[in-house]
């Protein structure tokens, strides 16, 4: 018997350890669920970590209202299948109650508005810890993020003053009103996620697989035709064979031309890809430090 683990098993063991630390150290933790592959992975790892007990966290969806229909269908089925509680924080409601103002113009997006809805939802349900599926390989500001990320009473991240994180000893202590963001799959790469999902045979939303869709090109990003995205007169819709590498709000999620129809096809495609997955995210293209700025304000 050789006592070696492959990298996927090593990552799984680490993530399960983090999920159990959250259950042990916090009173009222939740999983932030976006409907994308990363939050699906976190949810399945949580199921493994606590089986045969149910997942001890609700799923919290910060809903911009600008969804792909498939995302909502998948979410509702998953909630039923795993018998977990779902809480929806609505950006539309934040707009209607005047908490935030909708952006205007062609590239209007509700991504930034999510922060207010998220912080309001945390306050309403008194969550002391929110877990997310963010990974350090995704984006340069996230490469500096801790597993246990301390947020002040305004939900803000102070990147220059992060708590040191040593060995596997996670310090979740805080004062009243503060809270934590925890990222159990920090060390996974996009390829690791797909390899693991394939290895485990986990059913994924249809948007990730190749399909025909009416899309148009905006600044090099293929956006889905949708009532939520106002089109410029010069933009032309065409039917193409595409899939999505990331799934988020419909206004900022770009499609890629792809014929990958199975998990194995996707793994092959990701392994040979020449661009990163966030290359198609309009929300990251706004400035060199747009993710860092959003995180400081309290974003995921």
């Amino acid at each position: 018997m050789s006592y070696t683990l492959n990298h996927l098993k090593t990552l799984e063991a680490e993530s399960i350890f983090v999920l159990r630390e959250v259950a042990a150290q916090f009173q009222n933790p939740a999983i932030l669920f976006s409907g994308g592959k990363d939050s699906i992975l976190v949810t399945y790892l949580a199921k493994k970590a606590f089986y045969p007990a149910p997942i001890p966290f609700p799923l919290v969806h910060i809903d911009t209202g600008h969804n792909f229909e498939e995302t909502i269908t998948y979410r509702d089925n998953l909630v039923k299948k795993l018998n977990v509680k779902l809480i929806v924080g609505s950006v539309q409601e934040s707009i209607d109650t005047g908490r935030v103002a909708e952006e205007k113009g062609y590239s209007a997006s509700r991504i930034r508005l999510q922060t207010t809805t998220l912080l309001d939802t945390i306050e309403k349900y008194k969550f002391d810890c929110c877990m997310g599926g963010a990974r350090r390989d995704e984006e340069k500001a996230r490469a500096k993020e801790r597993f246990f990320s301390h947020r002040d009473e305004f939900g803000q991240w102070d990147p220059k003053n992060q708590r040191p994180e040593l060995w596997n000893l996670f310090n979740g202590k805080m004062q009243v009103g503060e809270n934590f963001r925890v990222f159990p799959i920090s060390n996974w790469t996009e390829l690791d996620v797909w390899q693991y999902l394939a290895m485990e045979g986990i059913e994924m939303p249809s948007l990730y697989f190749s399909h025909k869709r009416r899309v148009f090109d905006r600044d090099g990003t293929l956006l889905a035709e949708s009532p939520y995205i106002p089109m410029k007169p010069t933009e032309v819709v065409e039917e193409m064979v595409v899939r999505f590498r990331t799934i988020g709000d419909i206004t900022s999620t770009g499609a890629t031309l792809s014929t990958a129809a199975t998990l194995d096809d996707i793994i092959q495609e990701v392994a040979s890809s020449r661009t990163t997955e966030r290359g198609g995210r309009a929300d990251d293209k706004r400035s060199e430090s747009s993710m860092e700025d959003r995180k400081k304000e309290g974003y995921f």
């Binding site: 006592y3 090593t10 606590f50 007990a53 890809s273 430090s289």
Partner: protein, 435 residues
């Protein structure tokens, strides 16, 4: 480098089943901008085809905007706005790449003395440390400091990369002199496995590809070392230690009497039928099952996360530890440890702190500050030692409840703990238990 030279990352080498045999290696690099650390990381990523087009385009555009004549690969490793503006590394950044043999996690840490705490953070989970030496400068204070920290944190392997060989005409004698000087210094380190590689990160010599300019070098390239160094034995597979992290009680009709102890194995192997002792209570029982997600495992070993059921119904909670009869850790309320201090206020004699060790949390009082260590020379300062931020020293602690521990040199998991300041709740001390 131009865009057309960027090849498809990983594509030539990828076989969809190969990943099932890939190991994970974590390594740390410490250094400042001038010694070529960022260039080395950029070189490793570029030559292993791990830089993507959009990332490359991004840093190329930034380099041009700043009026730099070449594409500055250091921009790829610096994440925060302040770091890019000042051209320095402030915090630990994690980087990922893989080859057909292994997946790698780089903890890229700043090298200045005022960032010792970040270096320690990166080093705490690493299998290997890359120590960069500028061939023109030889061994300097920073080289010694990084090596001492790697040794103190128990990193099993060190790769000393003598960089900028192109600036000393690739001369073997320069390399040999530095190796001799380092070996002399390294007799005081605990690290047993040390490798020396002459490289030029700028030109790529001996990083991924063998050097044409240093045919005299019979050793391996850095990438070969990273891909092949034996790490499976870095984990202790002898002394079984299972800290209970969480108790799984479903309270459902189907699993009415189910009581599972969830945790991550710190070291050793655990099997069904093993006789175990529960610490600190001392009760004994037999392992009924080792499982994960409802699937029973024949055996499990570190660092797997599993759930263990016992034959007997005994009171066990988070912070307890399962061990094997005949192989128990030490138990004491008096702890001797080396500390790397991270707090803004110096360590307080008779001060009280929260202490986190495996899954257990207690309070501790500092009984004695024995000495402060000069981390550039290993010299001990015993006269009125004060341990402030970024200092390393030896302390004695008394805890409110006994800890079950091993020496850090035997077990990085059960031999380490952190101290947390009361009030601010900030992690202020990284501690390694001495025999």
């Amino acid at each position: 480098m131009t865009t057309s030279e960027i090849r498809n990352p990983q594509s030539e080498i990828f076989d969809s089943n190969s990943y099932l045999n890939m190991e994970l290696l974590r390594f740390t690099t410490a250094g400042s901008v001038d010694d070529g650390k960022s260039t080395l990381i950029g070189r490793l990523l570029y030559d292993s085809k791990s830089i993507f087009e959009d990332q490359y385009e991004n840093i190329k555009a930034t380099s041009e905007r700043r009026g730099e004549s070449t594409v500055n690969l250091a921009l790829f490793t610096d994440g925060l706005k302040a770091e890019r503006e000042q051209g320095i590394t402030i915090d630990v950044a994690y980087r990922y790449f893989s080859t057909p043999k292994r997946k790698f996690i780089i903890a890229d840490t700043p090298g200045h003395i005022q960032y010792t705490r970040n270096m320690v953070t990166g080093a705490s989970t690493a299998n290997l440390a890359i120590i960069l030496v500028d061939a023109r400068q030889g061994i300097v204070e920073q080289t010694r400091r990084h090596s001492i920290i790697a040794s103190l944190l128990g990193i099993p392997h060190i790769a000393v990369c003598i960089n900028k060989m192109d600036l000393v005409n690739h001369e073997e004698a320069v390399f040999n002199n530095i190796v001799a000087e380092y070996r002399e210094f390294a007799t005081r380190l605990k690290t047993k496995d040390i490798h020396f590689i002459p490289i030029s990160a700028l030109n790529g010599d001996n990083v991924v590809h063998r050097s044409e300019n240093m045919k005299w070098c019979e050793g391996v390239t850095l990438m070969y070392l990273l891909e092949n160094i034996h790490i499976a034995s870095d984990i202790n597979h002898i002394d079984m230690r299972f800290p209970v992290q969480y108790v799984v009680r479903p309270y459902s009709d189907e699993f009415h009497d189910y009581r599972g102890y969830a945790g991550r194995i710190s070291s050793g192997v655990i099997r069904k039928g093993d006789k175990v002792i529960v610490l600190p209570s001392g009760f004994t029982s037999t392992v009924k099952s080792v499982e994960l997600d409802g699937k029973e495992l024949k055996e499990a070993f570190a660092p797997l996360s599993v759930t263990v059921q016992l034959e007997d119904d005994i009171d066990i909670s988070r912070g307890d530890m399962l061990v094997r009869e005949g192989n128990v850790p030490k138990q004491s309320q008096d702890i001797e440890a080396m500390v790397c201090w991270m707090g803004e206020k110096p360590i307080q004699l008779n001060g009280k702190y929260f202490l986190k060790h495996t899954s257990k949390e207690v309070r501790a009082v500092v009984k004695e500050i024995k000495y402060k260590m000069d981390i550039n020379s290993l010299h001990r300062i015993t006269e009125n030692p004060s341990i402030g931020m970024n200092d390393v020293g030896r302390i004695s602690l008394r805890t409110t409840a006994p800890l079950c521990f091993d020496a850090y040199t035997k077990n990085r998991d059960t031999g380490s703990f952190i101290l947390i300041e009361e009030g601010s709740n900030v992690t202020v001390g990284a501690c390694m238990i001495i025999d």
